[in-house]
């Protein structure tokens, strides 16, 4: 069992206990010493009162010392680190909710934050940045169990072993796969092939489809007679190459569901394919290779369709999942701690000190009154 001081600098205030001692000594020094033959008659008349006074003086000094000392200790904010408190620290959980870049509904976030002692929602461009930010946030939190909840669609490529290993072993990790919210529509650029040339037009599509659509047909035929290449909006060259490849391959564009999909798992890898047989490759660096792959895929007999995101496997998530460990020893303790007890004691002692100061004066007044009456 130990004591943690939330404001240890205030312990300097303990030096102030010298103040009442000095006052007491100086006050006593003012009384001269008088050798006297006998105190027997003073005992008969005044001894009881003065003996009480002497005891009160000592008690008064002790009381004042205690007030100053307890006030200094209270200001220093002691937090007794006993077993019960340590257990309480483990009971409460500080939770960092890290969102993937998929849209997540509020309800899912509230579920993730439910029961947390303190929580924060973190969204960063990369998961590594988000996890580092969570670690920094934990460092500022009071002692508690620490847990990172990764909330989102959990597509493959969002998180890897290196990211997980970088997180403190005592910080728990938990995954909450969330369904992606139904997005609203947004306007995206579309490359349309007209009269053998690609022209840029715009079209309103689902907002979550971060894609450039490339079509060969007239704009009115987009929904029915369409060959679409869905690719990253920043990769128009890739889309153009893919479309060219498709056209070169003599793909009939009238088939409603014939689509070529370039789905993105992460920042620099993706998959190209039709229904099955995805080919993973570093896409931005190999546009021509992608085009070739598209061509190859398009030439197969299978029917292309829009491909769902590739998710991290449940086995992998289970491997990365871990429970929170011990709170950080360096966690700042911002609790009220045990200072309230000390302040309570200070108040009680102040009351006692006031009564002790008042008692002799009251007695003297009583004696004067008795003498006056007599």
């Amino acid at each position: 069992m130990s004591i943690f001081w939330t404001a240890p600098a205030a312990l300097i205030g303990l030096a102030l206990v010298a103040l009442p001692i000095a006052v007491h000594l100086l006050a006593r020094r003012n009384v001269r010493t008088l050798p006297y033959p006998s105190l027997r008659f003073l005992r008969q008349t005044q001894l009881a009162a003065f003996r009480r006074r002497a005891i009160e003086d000592a008690a008064l000094l002790i009381c004042r010392l205690a007030i100053v000392a307890l006030a200094a200790l209270a200001l220093a904010g002691p937090v007794l680190q006993n077993d019960a408190r340590q257990a309480a620290y483990l009971q409460r959980v500080s939770r960092a909710i890290v969102l993937t870049r998929d849209g997540v509904d509020r309800e899912a976030m509230e579920r993730a934050a439910d029961g947390a002692f303190r929580s924060i929602v973190i969204t960063r461009l990369t998961m590594a940045d988000a996890l580092a930010e969570a670690s920094r946030w934990f460092d500022e939190q009071p002692p508690s169990a620490r847990e990172i909840v990764i909330l989102g669609a959990l597509r493959r490529g969002v998180l890897n072993d290196v990211d997980v290993a970088a997180v403190d072993r005592n910080i728990g990790i938990r995954f909450m796969p969330a369904t992606i919210e139904t997005p609203s529509t947004t306007v995206v650029p579309i490359l349309s092939r007209r009269a053998g040339k690609l022209v840029a037009i715009s079209r309103q599509v689902r907002a979550d489809v971060d894609a450039t659509q490339v079509t060969d047909g007239p704009l009115s035929a987009v929904s029915t007679d369409l060959v679409r290449i869905i690719a990253s909006s920043t990769d128009t060259p890739l889309a153009e190459a893919a479309l060219a490849a498709a056209l070169d391959a003599g793909i009939p564009w009238t088939n409603f569901n014939q689509r070529i999909v370039i789905a993105w798992d992460g920042a620099d890898t993706g998959s190209v394919g039709r229904n099955t047989g995805l080919i993973r490759m570093p896409v931005p660096a190999a546009v021509q290779a992608a085009a070739d792959a598209v061509r190859e895929v398009l030439l197969t007999a299978s029917r292309p369709r829009f491909r769902e995101p590739v998710l991290i496997t449940a086995e992998q998530l289970a491997a990365w999942t871990r429970s929170p460990g011990a709170p950080s020893a360096d966690a700042p303790i911002a609790d009220e701690g045990d200072r309230r007890w000390l302040w309570g004691a200070v108040l009680v002692l102040l009351l006692i000190e006031w009564r002790m100061r008042r008692a002799p004066a009251a007695r003297q007044a009583d004696q004067s009154e008795e003498a006056r009456v007599a």
């Binding site: 010493t33 008088l34 006297y36 033959p37 105190l39 003065f50």
Partner: protein, 290 residues
């Protein structure tokens, strides 16, 4: 040590015409001023008694025989000298407000008177050891007596009761015991004084006090230190004075009453107040009683 260090010549001369008489009968070795327990033939007529064969015819009162036709023998009170012992309190409590100086002066004055009238005088004081000047007569003894008185100083740890206890063992014959003390150890001291009186000694208690301790007129608040016990107590004299004086006077009255009840002479002397009138009144009063 000259006698001027203990008592001034003025103090002595003013009382030189007086005598310190014993109030009770004392046993002396030679003829003196004081009543002896023995009847004999001296200057002081005591009583007649019927003649008995063997009586010295020199003491037959022939005039009475002529008047009454009976033979009476005159009896005289035998007088003797007295052996006076001054028991001086030199405890620490005497070291306050010239009380000890007063006691020493009184002892010197009375000692001088005793020796002047041909009696014997001695001094006894006890601290860590006994300071004893055995009772002797003669003016050559006065120097020794005064020298011993001058060498005494208050501060001893022994009480006056201890000195009185020793006096009781020292004194073999009935004599005069003069106790000079502030009597703060009154219970024990008065017990010893009574014992001396019961032994037949003529005991005079001279209660020496200072005005300051009677009235608590010692200035403002102070931490009083008991000279005897060293006990400390903070006192505001102005607040405590009234009850203190009442208690002190009650005690004085009680002590005096106790002593007088046992026939012990009591004289209260206060340091700083004129000594001669008080002593004169006392000595004259004793002469009247003797």
């Amino acid at each position: 040590m000259s006698r001027s260090h203990v008592v001034t010549s003025t103090e002595l001369q003013s009382l030189r015409d007086l005598e310190l008489m014993t109030k009770t009968t004392v046993e002396g070795l030679r003829q003196g001023l004081h009543r002896s327990p023995f009847h004999g033939y001296s200057a002081e007529f005591s009583q007649y008694r019927h003649y008995r064969p063997g009586d010295d015819l020199k003491y037959v009162d022939w005039k009475a025989f002529a008047r009454t036709d009976r033979i009476y023998t005159r009896q005289f009170r035998e007088t003797t000298n007295v052996s006076a012992l001054f028991v001086v309190d030199i405890s620490k409590s005497m070291d306050f407000g010239s009380k000890f100086v007063l006691a020493r002066t009184v002892a010197a004055v009375l000692g001088t008177l005793v020796l002047d009238q041909g009696d014997a005088a001695g001094v006894l004081a006890v601290d860590e050891r006994a300071h004893l000047v055995p009772s002797r007569s003669g003016h050559h003894h006065l120097r020794l007596l005064l020298s011993e008185l001058a060498s005494l100083a208050p501060g001893g740890s022994a009480s006056i009761a201890e000195a009185l206890r020793r006096a009781a063992t020292i004194l073999k014959r009935r004599g005069l015991v003069i106790v000079l003390s502030d009597l703060y150890e009154d219970d024990e001291a008065i017990g010893q004084i009574r014992r001396l009186a019961r032994m037949g000694h003529d005991v005079i208690v001279i209660h020496t006090l200072s005005r300051g301790e009677m009235t608590l007129d010692v200035g403002g608040a102070a931490e009083f230190v008991d000279l005897e016990s060293g006990r400390r107590m903070t006192v505001q004299p102005s607040a405590a004075r009234e009850s203190y004086i009442a208690a002190f006077n009650h005690w004085l009255h009680h002590v005096e009453q106790q002593l007088r009840r046992d026939g012990i002479d009591y004289l209260r002397l206060i340091a700083g107040e004129p000594l001669e009138p008080a002593l004169r009144r006392f000595l004259v009063g004793r002469r009247g009683l003797s």
